[in-house]
């Protein structure tokens, strides 16, 4: 559990981030806000029979505001802000105070919330005019089916039939895959909704490194299981119950560091799924201790292929870091069938804030550079690339594919569809929206059936939009967009940025 200043015997002098604005003309004192807030912001003042709030405890998740039956509550940024300063923002002052009180690492959840450049927003998409026709997806076939896995350079055909043994690939109906969200970090209800939505959509979800719950194994053919540094829940049955196995080397939100699921979150069910004792901390080491070099990766890749009889693709996921192209090249040569690259705006259940906000690269650059390097080396066709970390809408998906991705991972967007409001307190285990928690009282707030429907709607909506954009470009199959950077133009970018992205400036 996150510790408060009072745990250390130091009084906090931090200003509250949020101010709870309660309209007492509207408030009927029903107490919904009290029951909804796991951070104990709201309480009944029995002396005056009035509901009151402790703004300093508010995390800004807006659960109370959303559920208040009379709309009496508004959560606002606290008007009492630290003195404005061009160099020392209120956040710096707050964090320093927090560390002065606790001597610890400032934790956070979710993805980088800084004004780091979002290069998707500097890319514009093309459309056909006159010289070739745009295609109306409501009238013409428009194909989003994508195959994930390794490909041969050429196939042999003898007497009209195939004479090559193809590596295993997974067809997905749309190039959108749910990214790793482990049981422990998120609730069972969330994983169930993801698994069911993936099945209904014909795509994949990813267990993350928290094991594969027995009740979810019926969705195995839509599941990616992870083998991460903690190896939680990994056994032969685990590997063979999924459609793809992913070796997790790194995560965009926290490249180079491991994970730590507090013992409080390791419930009986989590302990069984992760195969660790109940109530113990689940530590994922920073590196995989059997991978200290690229040849070690090759051994693990092939150990997993042996264990699964070469029936499923093996993915290797890395955080987007400075030398991602060279690393990706090594991964392909080490036998990866899929490489997943996670950009520095990717989400997390818990990460040191200083890491989340400062380590790694925007996915746009890493993706473009990796795709180009693999092409330069003549090995791009051998693998599929899944790009993740900050994909917010259908246009981002289209741009990612034009920069070279086969498909995208979406995590944060999926959680927002379920209810997440990005309060970034995932690490606390007290998620009021029932997503990032193991507290049964909170977790049951996610109705898996409704969550599934919302996820399906989201991906269907994006898929329709992708088809519209493809049709506008005069393209009727998603594979004809892959690495088709001439369909993109950059706006407001330097020549060097354009060169790395491999796109021309708008108007050029």
């Amino acid at each position: 559990m996150p510790r408060k200043a009072s745990d250390f015997g130091i009084r906090s002098n931090r200003l509250p981030e949020y101010a709870v604005d309660r309209d007492y003309e509207l408030c009927i004192g029903c107490g919904v806000c009290i029951r909804q807030c796991s951070f104990d912001v709201h309480y009944l003042d029995e002396d005056h029979d009035t509901v009151r709030s402790r703004s300093e405890l508010c995390v800004g998740c807006h659960r109370c505001s959303a559920l208040c039956p009379t709309r009496a509550l508004a959560i606002k940024p606290n008007p009492a802000q630290y003195r404005a300063h061009g160099s020392w923002s209120g956040e710096h002052v707050k964090d320093i105070n927090l560390q002065a009180e606790t001597g610890g690492v400032v934790l956070t959840g979710s993805g980088n919330d800084k004004r780091a450049p979002v290069y998707w927003d500097n890319l514009l998409i093309n459309a056909s005019q006159v010289t070739n026709p745009s295609i109306d997806p409501l009238r013409e076939p428009m194909e989003l089916r994508t195959h994930l896995g390794a490909r041969l350079d050429a196939v042999n055909i003898q007497a009209g039939s195939l004479d090559s043994r193809l590596p295993p690939t997974i067809p997905i109906s749309t190039p959108i895959v749910f990214s790793a969200l482990s049981y422990g970090a998120v609730s069972f209800q969330v994983q169930l909704a993801l698994a069911q939505a993936a099945q209904e959509l014909g795509t994949l979800w990813n267990t993350g490194e928290g094991g594969f719950h027995p009740r979810l194994r019926e969705y195995g053919s839509n599941t990616i299981v992870q083998v991460a540094s903690g190896r939680f829940g990994v056994d032969l049955d685990y590997l063979n119950s999924a459609r793809m196995v992913e070796i997790k080397i790194g995560q965009g939100a926290k490249p180079g560091i491991g994970g730590h699921l507090a013992g409080e979150k390791v419930s009986k069910d989590v302990s069984a799924t992760r195969m660790i004792p109940e109530g113990t901390d689940a530590i994922s080491p920073a590196p995989q201790h059997d991978i200290y070099s690229i040849e070690d990766l090759r051994m693990l890749v092939f150990a997993l292929k042996e264990a699964t009889n070469y029936k499923v693709p093996v993915s290797v996921k890395i955080a987007a870091v400075h030398n991602a192209p060279a690393i990706a090249s090594g991964m392909v040569r080490a036998g990866a069938d899929v490489i997943a690259i996670d950009g520095f705006r990717g989400g997390t259940g818990a990460a040191p804030k200083v890491i989340r906000d400062n380590v790694g690269l925007p996915i746009e650059f890493a993706l473009a550079a990796v795709d180009q390097r693999l092409r330069d080396e003549g090995i791009r066709n051998r693998v599929s690339i899944i790009a993740g970390g900050g994909v917010r809408n259908a246009a981002d998906v289209v741009k990612a594919i034009a920069l070279g991705a086969d498909a995208v991972y979406v995590g944060t967007a999926a959680l927002i569809a379920i209810g997440c409001t990005l309060c970034q307190k995932c690490y606390s285990g007290k998620c009021n929206w029932g997503i990032a928690t193991q507290d049964p009282y909170l977790a049951k707030r996610v109705n898996p059936d409704i969550a599934r429907r919302r996820l399906v709607n989201l991906v269907k909506g994006w898929s329709h939009e992708i088809k519209e954009m493809l049709g506008g470009m005069g393209i009727n199959a998603i594979e004809s967009l892959r690495s088709n950077r001439s369909q993109l133009r950059g706006i407001g970018l330097t020549a060097e940025e354009l060169s790395i992205l491999g796109v021309k400036p708008a108007g050029g």
Binding site: P141, S480, L481, S486, Q487
Partner: protein
């Protein structure tokens, strides 16, 4: 003219690629009997409005029967210095059995013609085998086109040749004295480019060894196709859809020996819905082709006539966004952007039909294509107009 200036000529405004629409025409006598080009010229004239005078060309098979064992190189030199350098390079790997100017004549409307020369080559190393010889030749052509100044090789097959330049088809035919030649396959092209300077090398047909391509289209997947081909070592220097189409032909049909039918399944594959409905082993085969060659799906409008010494192939994109009509009369197989052009030169076709999108119609030596439906047969049908001969006389 080094590579840089070549790019400038071909893509003066630095566009992603050239945008062009066109007229294409082809005729093949599947018995191998040589035919003069007059029907081809008349058909192209009939489709005059589909071009804008910025490029036209012809590929002729059966062109040099007396030199059939030699690779015939048709080369443009923008300066005579290129010729010296090119010949020096050629002699390192080939014997020059013949070397002569390509006969031309002054033609109104044709100007700024380069020095046009043809060579008949045999490899110095006689132990290479056919594939080895072709690879050597491809390598040589690439070097001549990119490393030797003022030089552009525009065809290099055996017993075939390309004639092309800046002008309308009738002007180009007149300029090259094409009435003096005959062939059993003729393909022709007239361009309507929107963003390219008139450059002789930019006209169609495009030719790699004995494969030639005339193409009407704008491929929206150009960037994807180009990236795929460059991964395999091709260098796309001309920024044209036709260049990627020609490289796809080279990769799949020349190097990987795919049939035209399989080639079509790569560049214009069936939709997944159709593949899912196929019986085995077709489903596995088509899935494998689409997965493996996803980067060679040519997406967007195209109609193309591809030929080599054995066959002539007509193909459109899978949803048929550019026109193409085929017809047969006796041993002659016609392909045209417009049916009118075929009717004009051959009023009494046996059958005429519009091929389905993505379905190739192939004429092979000894094998005339069959109409898809019995109703395509028009029987002996002589129209009121006696065709181009009468039209020309009246």
């Amino acid at each position: 003219m080094d590579l840089v200036s070549l790019l400038k000529l071909n893509n003066p405004f630095g566009d992603d690629k050239r945008h062009a629409a066109c007229a294409i025409f082809g005729m093949m006598n599947v018995s191998g009997e040589l035919m003069p080009g007059e029907q081809v010229f008349a058909a192209m004239n009939n489709m005059h409005e589909r071009g804008n005078g910025l490029g036209a060309g012809f590929a002729v098979y059966g062109l040099y029967p007396h030199m059939r064992d030699y690779y015939a190189l048709h080369v443009m030199f923008t300066d005579v210095r290129g010729k010296t350098a090119a010949e020096e390079l050629l002699r390192k790997s080939f014997v020059l059995e013949g070397s002569e100017p390509i006969p031309t004549r002054k033609t109104p409307g044709i100007s700024a013609e380069p020095l046009l020369w043809r060579y008949f080559l045999a490899p110095l190393d006689t132990s290479l085998g056919e594939d080895g010889e072709q690879d050597l030749l491809m390598d040589m052509v690439l070097r001549l086109n990119t490393e030797v100044p003022d030089t552009f090789v525009f065809s290099c097959g055996k017993n075939m040749g390309v004639f092309k330049g800046v002008g309308y088809p009738d002007q180009i035919a007149h300029f090259y004295r094409l009435e003096d030649y005959s062939g059993y396959i003729w393909t022709a092209h007239s361009r309507f480019p929107t963003n390219s300077h008139a450059w002789w090398g930019g006209a169609h047909p495009f030719c790699l060894v004995d494969w030639s391509v005339v193409h009407n289209g704008e491929i929206s997947s150009y960037g994807t196709n180009r990236a795929f081909l460059e991964t395999l070592g091709y260098r796309c220097t001309l920024f044209t859809d036709t260049e990627v189409m020609a490289y796809a032909v080279d990769l799949l049909m020349r190097r990987q020996k795919m049939t035209p039918e399989l080639f079509a399944k790569v560049v214009a594959p069936p939709f997944w819905e159709e593949i899912d409905a196929m019986a085995e082993p077709e489903r596995t085969l088509h899935t494998a082709l689409r997965v493996t060659y996803a980067g060679l799906l040519m997406n967007g409008p195209f109609a193309v006539v591809i030929a080599n010494g054995e066959q002539m192939i007509a193909l459109t994109d899978r949803i048929r966004l550019r026109p193409l009509t085929v017809a047969v009369r006796g041993d002659i197989f016609y392909v045209s952007s417009e049916e009118a052009a075929i009717r004009f030169v051959c009023p009494g076709v046996d059958a005429v039909w519009t091929p389905k999108g993505g379905v190739p119609v192939v004429g092979r030596l000894g094998l005339i294509p069959k109409p898809e439906h019995a109703s395509d047969n028009v029987g002996v049908c002589v129209t009121a107009c006696g065709g181009y001969r009468d039209a020309a006389q009246s």
